[in-house]
Structure formats: structure tokens, C-alpha cells
Symmetry: C2
Subunit: 242 residues, 2 copies
DNA sequence: CCAATGCCTTGATTTCGGTCAAAGCCTCTT
DNA sequence: AAGAGGCTTTGACCGAAATCAAGGCATTGG
């Protein structure tokens, strides 16, 4: 069980054996000894789009790092209405410490690869390593900020502002090299129209109409229903309602 | 600088000198020595309804415990539209560790009393006491759960479901002794109609009409525009959309 | 006591987004 | 290549909530 070393600008420069990737999410907080121990209990999964991650017996007692792909967190009402309450991109951490569970479902929006560990391993290490808990606090604060940002979008923006805000958010998360000077980006939508609607509190039809409008106005182009090219980021920003 | 002791079912049984009250939020995580040190730097404030707590120079570099009253956290759009993204009730903690600030304003919704400490004191203690950071993580997770719960309300509920959900949430936070058997509660609304509208992503008029409807249907009574009596909690719950 | 002010309610009308319905487009399979 | 099924788009219409506009009802102060 060797642990590969890697130079990292911030934090302890180590790689998780199972992930074979750098994790800002969790592993970066561990020292090499802990990492070796964790590697013994961790394993790597690949999940098909649409598969449930929580509610599923296999993974309910585990935490994971998202290595690639997008996971959607949803909450539903009894009559079937659904709302996406969060999207997890790599290298986000997935799973809820201390079982403060609030009936959230997690589902792979795209193909997803995960590095996951038994709940018990992480919880033990959290007790040993304050740095790990510190990372979790930071991630949780980040998620809280994102959630509040979306509350503004859900409560106060118009349909077209919502769609523009959504495209911007995806652009920022998918393509880390979005250059404001270029003023244009290109990426694959990780969500179907139905998912986008559930994320924005709209219907599929409204989402579709707003995308059509943005296309007609030359702000974006869409190929094969998935691949989006933003022709003018600044125009998209102007439409996102600040 | 004596520190009063108090028997508490969970956690370390201590009282903050300045607060003279038990804090699940922060103080409960400290040992008596730390508490004495903190007491030396903490002070108690009373804030008038409508006063800004963040953005205000006096308190921008401090953390606080809410001792009584309700604080609203708001985010605004450039054109003036506003959304309340959280309500802090006693004994919630107020303030943002690690300056992950996301342009949130905090304002007293009612008269509020606070026990506040300089940012530096808390941050130093956080480094010394993992238990304190643990508490912060728990509070942050709680706030995240609440935020996500409201995302469902904002995105997927109708106006009348929103208002019913809001009344239930207030009832649960204001009156901790809400007994499901009794099926009725009574409390003062800590928010004006405008605040409720900003919380629910509605207009004042819609909020007013929905309250009128609930009154007409005998689910609630309202006196002096503030004092609400829920005649039937179960009927209110049924209207909240699960 | 009577403005005046600030909330809150109510009514009339408009509009944005939802609903219903049909057709178009990919992708995958055979 | 054709057909099937699943997304997506588009159109016509509808309805819930916003907007516009009075008016009511407390509290405050002259």
C-alpha cells in the first residue's frame, strides 16, 4: 500500500491510493499514515447516469469524493413535485456527517466516478484530525453560500434570468478556464431540460423557450441538445439579473 | 470574572458571563477557562428592529449569539429586488467563519439582543478547541438543511402553500412547546408582510390575500396584524404541501 | 381631536409562466 | 434503413400571482 506523493500548492501533498487523484474535498486534509489507512477501506465506483446514490443500500453508509461527473441532490414533495437543491461537481464531497439527514436524494446526473469510504473510517479520522473537520466546515459553508445564492434565483428572478444564471453557473463549474477576456465558453450541459427545470423551479417548456430565445438572440448556440457555446459571456451575465 | 455553572443535559455545563444564558451556539463548547477569557472580550447589545447588523462598522468584525429576537439574513439584486435567505432565532450563532462572505446583509427583524465577541477571540479559540469547530459545523449543517428546505418551498410550492409553510416554521421556532396533541398554537409574527413576502418570493398583496383566506377558512386568527393563533395545526400542515 | 404616516387589505386588470397538445429530432436497435 | 422511444421544441390557451390603484386602520404627533 504505497501512497503516491504529489506537489500541491496548498495543503498536504498526498494522493489517495484508491482515487489516484488529488482531493481538495477530503484526502488533502489527511497525513500520509491516515491516508494509507483510509486507502485500505476506500474503493472506486463508476455510476451510470440516473442511478440513485443515496437511498441505495450499497452506499448509504459511506462518504465519497466526486472524481468526475455531476451529482444532483433533490428533495421532493409528496405529490411528486421535485426540486434540485444542490449540484456536486468534482472534487466535492458527498455525504452527510452526523446524520443530520433531511430526506435528500442524490442521483448521478451524468456518468459519475466516486471514491468512497465507509462512514466509520471518515468519522474516526475526523475525531483524530481537526484539520479534516475544518475542511468539512469549509465545504459546508461553501454549499450554504451556494444554496443561498439559489434562493435568490428561485425567489426573485424571472424565468429568463433563471436560465441565464444557470448557464453561467454551469460554465463556471464545468470549464475552470473560463476567461472573462475571451468572453466566450463552451461546455456540455450535464443536465437534461427536466433537470434544469427542477433546478430552477420552472417547467421543461419554459426552460426550452428561454433557451430558444437566447439562441435566437445570438447569446448562445446549442448542438445536439447538449453542447452549449456561450457566444457572449457578458451578455449572458447582463441577462442573469446581477 | 466568575463563570456560573449550570446543569445541561448535553455538553459542557457552563454559562457565558456576558450572556448569562446557555448557548448551544458557541459557549457550550468551551471549557471554563476559555469561557472566562471570552467573557472578558464579549459584550451584550440590544438592537432596534430594522437596524443593520452586518455592513455596520461596529459589528462587522465580530461574531454573536442571538439571545432573543429574530435576525433576518437578506440578499439583494442590483435593481432592488430582495430575498430573505435565512432567519436566525435564539440561540443561533451569527457571523461567518473564514470570511466566506457572499454579500449577505443581516438586519434585526424584531428587537434583538446579542452577545457578541471580536472575530479574533473566536477564531483563536477555534484553533485551540476542536469542539468549538465541531459545533460550528453542526450549526452550519443545520442552516444548510433549512436553506434546502426553503429552496423546495421557493421553487415548487404555490403561494398558499408557501404562506402555510411559513406560519408553521415560525410556530416551530417561536413556540418550542407546540404540542401536536393540542393542535393549536399562538405567537407573535416577528416579520412584517413585506418581510414575509421577501422570504417567500411573493408580493405583499399575495401574502395578505393568502392570510385572509386562511383566516376566512378558520385555520388561523390574527389580532393587531401581529398576533397569530393557529386554530388547527393539522389543517395548516395539510395546506403546507408536505 | 385631527392630520399624517406607515402598514395592511381589497379590488380590477395584466402578464408571465404553466398546462395541454402536437410535432420534430436524436439515438439506439434491429 | 426503418422504427421506436425518449427528449426537446413549438403553439394555443389558461390561470395564478404580479401590478396598479384605492381605501382602511392603527399609532404618532401637532
Amino acid at each position: 500500500m504505497t501512497v503516491r506523493q504529489d506537489v500541491h500548492s496548498a495543503g498536504i501533498p498526498v494522493l489517495c491510493q484508491s482515487c489516484e487523484a488529488r482531493h481538495r474535498g477530503v484526502c488533502g486534509a489527511l497525513d500520509p499514515d491516515q491516508l494509507v489507512a483510509l486507502s485500505k477501506t476506500s474503493s472506486r465506483y463508476t455510476i451510470e447516469p440516473g442511478a440513485e446514490l443515496i437511498g441505495d443500500a450499497e452506499t448509504v453508509n459511506s462518504y465519497s469524493n466526486v472524481l468526475s461527473g455531476v451529482v444532483k441532490l433533490t428533495k421532493g414533495l409528496s405529490d411528486g413535485r421535485q426540486q434540485i437543491v444542490g449540484l456536486q461537481f468534482a472534487p466535492d464531497f458527498l455525504g452527510r456527517p452526523f446524520k443530520v439527514e433531511s430526506e435528500i436524494n442524490a442521483e448521478a446526473a451524468t456518468a459519475v466516478s466516486l471514491c468512497s469510504f465507509p462512514k466509520a473510517s471518515i468519522e474516526r479520522m475526523m475525531r483524530e484530525s481537526p484539520e479534516l473537520e475544518h475542511r468539512l466546515l469549509k465545504q459546508t459553508l461553501k454549499e450554504l453560500d451556494e444554496a443561498r445564492e439559489w434562493m435568490v434565483t428561485l425567489g426573485r428572478k424571472t424565468a429568463s434570468e433563471k436560465v441565464a444564471s444557470f448557464l453561467l453557473m454551469i460554465a463556471r463549474n464545468i470549464d475552470p478556464a473560463t476567461d472573462p477576456a475571451t468572453n466566450s465558453t463552451s461546455f456540455d450541459l450535464p443536465l437534461t431540460r427536466a433537470d434544469i427545470a427542477d433546478f430552477l423551479g420552472l417547467t421543461i417548456e419554459t426552460v426550452s423557450r428561454q433557451l430558444t430565445r437566447l439562441r435566437a438572440e445570438g447569446v448562445i448556440r446549442i448542438e445536439n441538445n447538449r453542447h452549449v457555446t456561450v457566444e457572449s459571456l457578458s451578455r449572458l451575465e447582463r441577462r442573469s439579473g446581477a
